[in-house]
């Protein structure tokens, strides 16, 4: 793993290498389609306040797929719902901004951008209304978002079903959701989402309920749609394999915070955050058959207090006393051009934390072999 100093190339001093803005602009011209900054979504109950999304920042540019990966309870779905303005009581967005084409949606601008952002949920049968035909539901969206009615709407509905690969579309358009298989239902949900003619499609575990061969079909479909329509996609999943297959860049989220951000290939080649590494190693198939699977002890905590420390520290094989009292900020790691950050004191030159020794101890062989440079440079 290249360290932060050589990572930023020109200036090797630690201070300048620190990232002032948690999200740097990519090496592209133009503004991001969606810019999420320091998003905080909390759920207040009588007993406690849960900081479900706690200072999340990321960008999505036109035509790219950005992944948000984490385990259950990490806050990834709440992030999705926050972007769509779908957070219900007792939850609320408590801070930060969600800029879509420059407009901050949290200023109450969701209505203005209604239809620009669509969402596809995990469970297709729950997303479709069982008492309306598939065609009805697509035409409803077409009427609201594109003002299409009558035969124009009907034709467009058939086109959309064909676009999402439903065979025999002219007949299927008048069928009810229960007449379609799970894979076909999810295609229909995507067709409804596309009927809004969105610029950004938020996919919240869109393939988790599907079989692996059907999942492959849906991933192919999303890739095709992106190529043809120039859609930007926010892809939320717990499945690292799907992330690797489907995304250009990825954010790893843990207990409400993005702990690592990287281009997808780089994340898999050189994961920098101990959580990312542990997560990758615990997937069966990455270790040899019959070997013991490396594990992460403990559970994902529910963040009920503001973050004043590293939330992964109690489970982290590298955790040092500093980790319990300092909140780690994202710092650049990896190659200079890569836009790769990790929020971990291991990578922060202000702290002197040894890595190698603890890591890989016990039953966790350091498969990534990446972190050999412990301590201060």
């Amino acid at each position: 793993m290249s360290r932060i100093s050589d990572g930023r190339g020109a200036d090797p001093t630690a201070d300048s290498a620190r990232d002032p803005d948690p999200v740097r602009d990519r090496e592209t011209d133009g503004d991001p389609l969606l810019a999420v900054r320091d998003l905080r979504t909390v759920f207040r109950t009588e007993r406690e306040t849960i900081h479900a999304v706690d200072g999340v920042s990321f960008d999505i540019y036109e035509g790219e797929t950005v992944g948000l990966v984490g385990e259950s309870g990490s806050g990834k779905s709440v992030t999705a719902r926050s972007i769509l303005g779908l957070v219900d009581e007792p939850g609320s967005i408590d801070g930060g901004s969600i800029r879509f084409r420059g407009d901050d949606l949290t200023d109450g601008l969701w209505r203005e951008h209604r239809g620009d952002i669509s969402i596809v949920f995990q469970d297709p049968s729950g997303s479709l209304n069982p008492v309306y035909t598939v065609g009805n539901q697509i035409r409803e969206a077409l009427k609201i978002h594109q003002g299409l009615r009558g035969s124009a709407a009907r034709e467009r509905a058939v086109e959309l079903l064909e676009a999402v690969g439903i065979p025999d579309a002219p007949r299927r358009v008048s069928e009810y959701p229960h007449q379609l298989s799970g894979g076909m239902q999810q295609r229909a949900v995507i067709a409804v989402a596309l009927a809004c003619d969105p610029d950004l499609l938020v996919c919240d575990e869109p393939t988790t309920a599907l079989d692996v061969t059907i999942q492959a079909q849906i991933l192919d479909l999303l890739a095709d749609l992106q190529r043809e329509e120039g859609l930007a996609i926010l892809f939320i999943t717990h499945d690292m394999g799907v992330i690797e297959e489907a995304t250009d860049r990825v954010n790893v989220i843990y207990a409400g915070e993005v702990v690592e951000r990287a281009p997808t290939a780089e994340l898999f080649d050189a994961p920098a955050h101990p959580y990312t590494r542990a997560l990758l190693e615990s997937i069966p198939g990455r270790s040899g058959p019959g070997e013991r699977l490396p594990t992460i002890e403990g559970e994902v905590p529910t963040p009920t207090e503001p973050a004043t420390h590293c939330r992964f520290a109690p489970r982290c094989p590298h955790a040092a006393p500093d980790c319990e009292r300092v909140h780690p900020e994202p710092v650049a790691v990896g190659s200079a051009s890569a836009d790769h950050t990790a929020a971990c004191l291991l990578h922060d030159d202000e702290f002197d934390i040894e890595a190698g020794a603890a890591y890989g101890g016990g039953d966790a062989p350091d498969a990534a072999g990446a972190d050999d440079a412990g301590g201060r440079e």
């Binding site: 385990e71 579309a169 061969t213 059907i214 069966p284 198939g285």
Partner: protein
């Protein structure tokens, strides 16, 4: 179905250890579900449709397949939770599909099941201790089997105990000394001390009385079990909702182990868990297998998990095992086109597949109406083509798609208006049919005779007779795959590889190379 192998009454307990006799031997097993409602005339769901498989002691067999392929039904049938329609499941010398109530109970002590969703499989009104103890209460555990040794061997057993059968380790071993006093040994893992039973020996009987409360013995057992699965005594009085998903699955495993089974059916035990939790449960299952000498049938749709945990794998599609064999061999060199497709569909670099992705078309056919011949033929990317025609691959795919379309339509619920039209012989839904047919005709220039077949089929369908249309297409463009479904080479006996694809025959190219060649052909023509 197949002849039952010689029954072996009173299998010798000592020799049973590492014999080559399978622990469970499945032959020609079928499980169908019939709707018994008066209104429905639906054909039965052929959930398991002729399965042959041996499972050996101490091994893990991974049963993989997609949802609806019948893998869960197979597991449940093995445990007597579903009634078999045909075939046999041989275990400990008897057919477990045909047991009396008492025998079935006995088998269910020997074989446990862990379910996918620990949230739904645990009763939320019972404490964890009660949940794990329930099977012990239900089966009146411990039975206190007694083996009497030495000169007293012929004496009968009375009191709270029963004589030990030929199988397994007896709970108590009673030796009678020359002076007539009894010497009692309690087997390991039974939470009972020798002085907690009173043994009296007289001329023709050995009488065993339990001096402690049975419930105390059971609670001791529950505590042992909780500890074994990584929970502890303090969890005893908690309720399932107070646990995380991983902990709940541990409770499910403890419950399944309560009656000391040799054989566990694990039905998607980690599918509802996060990957880091999944890793811990898999390690736990590994440990338990090593410590207790368990045999697993591990049912899952996750091929990466199977590669990690299973010695052998059986791949199931639409009620049949299409391929089986040692996991390493099957993953390195899959023989059945469905296995090829499944392996290639695993996303990411953790995938065991290094070749190209094969994306299957469509979804599996309905198990109420499985295709004749090979069940996979309707989606198979390596289907054998008939010699009568020579079309480019793109044309074959279009023809296949059209035929699947007719099949699907034939099965679909028909709107009343359409059915009325059918009855009147009027044409229905012309527009979409002609579209579909045009796609076929556009795909390539069909020779006139082939074109005539397609036209006739479309004509059948446009008059509402989709079944006839599908049959016509099959007649003209079908192949051996639509007629034959070869039996497993070994009849499912033993550990050797089986592949129920005609491409195993020497005259054909293998599945993988065919799939890859065809993929290149269609890529080349822009299809």
């Amino acid at each position: 179905m197949t002849a039952r192998p010689e029954a072996e009454p009173g299998r010798d307990g000592a020799a049973a250890g590492r014999s080559d006799e399978p622990l469970v031997s499945i032959r020609g097993l079928k499980t169908y579900y019939t709707d018994s409602s008066i209104l429905s005339s639906q054909p039965p769901v052929q959930a398991v449709d002729g399965v042959d498989l041996d499972v050996y002691e101490g091994e893990t067999v991974g049963l993989v397949g997609e949802s609806g392929c019948g893998k869960t039904t197979l597991g449940r049938t093995l445990l007597g939770l579903e009634d078999a329609t045909a075939g046999t499941v041989e275990a400990s010398g008897r057919d477990v599909t045909d047991l009396s109530r008492a025998e079935r109970r006995e088998w269910q002590e020997n074989a446990g099941m862990v379910f996918q969703d620990p949230e739904e499989s645990l009763n939320d009104r019972m404490t964890v201790g009660e949940i794990v103890r329930e099977p012990l209460d239900a089966h009146d555990w411990p039975t206190l089997t007694v083996a009497v040794e030495g000169d007293a061997r012929d004496r009968s057993v009375e009191g709270d105990a029963v004589p030990a059968g030929a199988d397994g380790t007896p709970d108590l071993t009673v030796g009678v000394d020359a002076d007539g006093s009894a010497d009692v040994a309690v087997r390991d893992r039974l939470p009972l001390d020798a002085d907690e039973v009173d043994v009296t020996v007289d001329a023709d009987a050995v009488r065993v009385d339990l001096l402690v409360d049975e419930r105390a013995v059971r609670e001791g057992r529950v505590t042992d079990l909780l500890e074994r699965v990584g929970l502890n005594e303090e969890h005893f009085y908690r309720y399932p909702h107070q646990f995380s998903g991983g902990q709940r699955q541990r409770v499910g495993i403890a419950r399944a182990l309560a009656l000391e089974p040799d054989f566990l059916v694990l039905d998607e035990p980690t599918s509802a868990l996060d990957v880091s939790v999944q890793a811990r449960i898999i390690n736990l299952l590994d440990d338990l297998q090593a410590e207790l000498g368990l045999t697993y049938l591990f049912i899952t749709h996750d091929l990466s998990v199977v590669r990690h945990i299973a010695d052998r794998v059986a791949v199931m599609y639409l009620g049949s095992i299409v391929e089986s064999g040692p996991t390493r061999e099957v993953y390195a060199d899959p023989g059945h086109p469905y296995t090829v497709s499944l392996l290639s569909a695993i996303p990411g670099s953790g995938s065991p597949w290094d070749g190209e992705r094969v994306t299957l078309r469509g979804a599996p056919p309905s198990p109420r109406d499985p295709p004749s011949g090979c069940p996979f033929a309707t989606r198979c990317p390596a289907k054998i083509r008939p010699d009568d025609w020579s079309f480019p691959e793109a044309t074959w795919r279009a023809l296949d798609a059209l035929r699947v379309l007719f099949r699907t339509r034939a099965r679909a619920e028909t709107p009343t208006a359409t059915r009325a039209k059918q009855l009147l012989g009027m044409s229905v839904d012309d527009e979409s049919l002609t579209d579909a047919a045009r796609d076929v005709l556009d795909a390539a220039d069909l020779p006139p005779d082939a074109r005539a077949v397609v036209d006739d089929a479309v004509d059948d369908a446009s008059h509402g007779d989709d079944r006839a249309a599908a049959a016509r297409m099959r007649e003209a463009f079908g192949s051996r795959c639509d007629e034959e479904f070869p039996a497993p080479e070994t009849g499912g006996r033993g550990r050797a590889r089986t592949n129920r694809c005609l491409r195993r025959e020497a005259e054909y190219d293998g599945a993988r190379e065919t799939v890859e060649r065809r993929q290149h052909e269609t890529d080349g023509t822009g299809g």
